[in-house]
């Protein structure tokens, strides 16, 4: 028995080490937020005779000019959302005050739900510091990029956006509960699929986060689905998108017109 148990422990350890190695490989191959690139680079990522994807990429090129890749670590939606919005506001500075009050509103609501103020304030302060830096004329786009490439700061943003998403889902449990396949409660869904890092975002996450912060996002879907054009879906429905993301199965990147 003892030998068996230590064998299990050893295998567990091996698995963890392997996960570590894979994560390192992913990290080395792509920054959290990449540089702006031409959409053409996608053409080379797929086989020339892959008609569906090549047709969809051509269609994408008609609608968008540039692309910024994000690291595929399961946090890509949250990171892309945070960066793309703040980058846009770095130029425009039109929505930041509203955004800031929405974030503050989310914090109050999370505190009233019983989230520990100890960790919550930590995330909140870090995030607000970044938002405020975007509001300053002296902050450059290179600095914002640097912030989102810094593991600690970048992950703090992701974490806070995850908790905000979770809080919104829980406050709107009645509406969202019908979408939770396989989970008995919203709370259970949130603690398994939303709050932990590296868990991929789904429609539910996107819907909740965009509603919670009042930031409209257009998601352009490029998959093996029907047709030779890419389809854009806007969250919340009917709004005017402030930022655009490209979705390919399991991954989100940032798009620019």
């Amino acid at each position: 028995m003892a030998d068996f148990m230590s064998e299990v422990a050893r295998l567990d350890e091996e698995t963890l080490k392997q996960i570590d190695r894979i994560q390192k490989e992913v990290a080395e191959s792509c920054e959290f937020i990449g540089d702006q690139e031409d959409i053409d680079i996608l053409t080379k990522q797929y086989l020339q005779d892959d008609e569906v994807y090549q047709a969809k990429i051509s269609d994408l090129k008609r609608k968008y000019k540039k692309l910024r890749r994000t690291r595929g670590d399961g946090n890509c939606f949250f990171r892309a959302f945070g960066y793309a919005y703040l980058e846009k506001q770095l130029e425009e500075k039109t929505d930041l005050d509203r955004f800031k009050s929405a974030v503050i509103q989310c914090r109050s609501s999370l505190l009233s739900m019983g989230y520990p103020s100890f960790t919550l304030e930590d995330f909140h302060d870090t995030f607000i510091d970044i938002v405020e830096s975007v509001n300053k004329a002296s902050t450059s786009s290179a600095e914002l990029l640097q912030t989102f490439r810094d593991q600690g700061l970048s992950d703090y943003c992701v974490c806070y956006l995850r908790i905000i998403t979770s809080g919104y889902l829980q406050s709107n449990a009645e509406f969202y509960s019908s979408f939770m396949d396989g989970y008995s409660t919203i709370k259970e869904y949130c603690s398994t699929e939303v709050e932990p890092m590296y868990k991929e975002a789904d429609h539910i996450h996107i819907s909740a986060l965009t509603s919670a912060l009042g930031v409209s996002v257009g998601v352009v879907y490029m998959d093996r689905g029907e047709g030779l054009e890419v389809n854009e879906h806007v969250f919340p429905e009917g709004s005017d998108p402030m930022i655009h993301l490209l979705y390919r199965p399991g991954h989100y990147d940032i798009l620019y017109k």
């Binding site: 028995m1 422990a9 603690s191």
Partner: protein, 202 residues
């Protein structure tokens, strides 16, 4: 932000020390080496009305450099007989230490969750299959065994007479088996001396 995890551990350390539970001596965190805050020693007191009541359980806590985005690695140093904790390695099966960890949680959350686990085992999600089987199949024997382990290893007050148990362990000691091995074999085989002997000598 080079050592985010260390800054955070320092703050969490203060949080635990000033917490209500620490005041009541229910949980504790200690720094082992001031120069290395990634290795901590945790303590959880066995909750009342459980076989672990009054026992002092020492935990080994390791802070990964990706903390708080990944959970701390925690295992029992003190031996314990519990369905969700390996009786051999001390490994813990607890959702928040695995896929339900969130960065909003803290070391205090972890210690309190472990204490809650001692209060309410989850035999359907076992770490130690043998203990879980006993917990479900013979709850009385499970309680007796868990209590014996708590008294032996965790310094829980001796409230039961373990004469029969001690006699069986002594028998195995005389056969040249170490006390730990003897206790493990007997516990695993429902204190059936013959079955324990068989398992040790085959």
């Amino acid at each position: 932000m080079a050592s985010l995890h260390i800054t955070r551990v320092k703050r969490e350390f203060r949080e635990v020390v000033s917490s209500e539970e620490a005041q009541k001596s229910q949980i504790k965190i200690e720094i082992i080496d001031e120069s290395d805050l990634t290795k901590l020693k945790g303590t959880v007191i066995g909750p009342p009305d459980t076989p672990f009541e009054g026992g002092t359980y020492i935990l080994d806590i390791r802070i990964p450099d990706t903390y708080p985005f990944n959970p701390p690695k925690v295992k029992f140093v003190t031996k314990i007989w519990h369905p969700n904790i390996s009786s051999v390695t001390g490994a813990i099966c607890l959702d928040i230490l695995k896929d339900q960890w969130a960065a909003a949680m803290t070391l205090r959350t972890v210690l309190l969750s472990i204490q809650a686990l001692l209060q309410a085992a989850e035999p359907d999600d076992p770490q130690d299959a043998v203990v879980a089987k006993q917990y479900k199949g013979d709850p009385e024997l499970y309680r007796k065994t868990a209590k014996h382990w708590a008294q032996t290893y965790a310094g829980a007050p001796k409230t039961t007479d373990d004469a029969e148990i001690s006699a069986k362990i002594d028998t195995l000691l005389q056969m040249g088996i170490t006390e730990t091995k003897a206790r493990e074999a007997l516990s695993t085989h429902s204190w059936n001396l013959e079955a324990a002997v068989d398992s040790l000598f085959t």
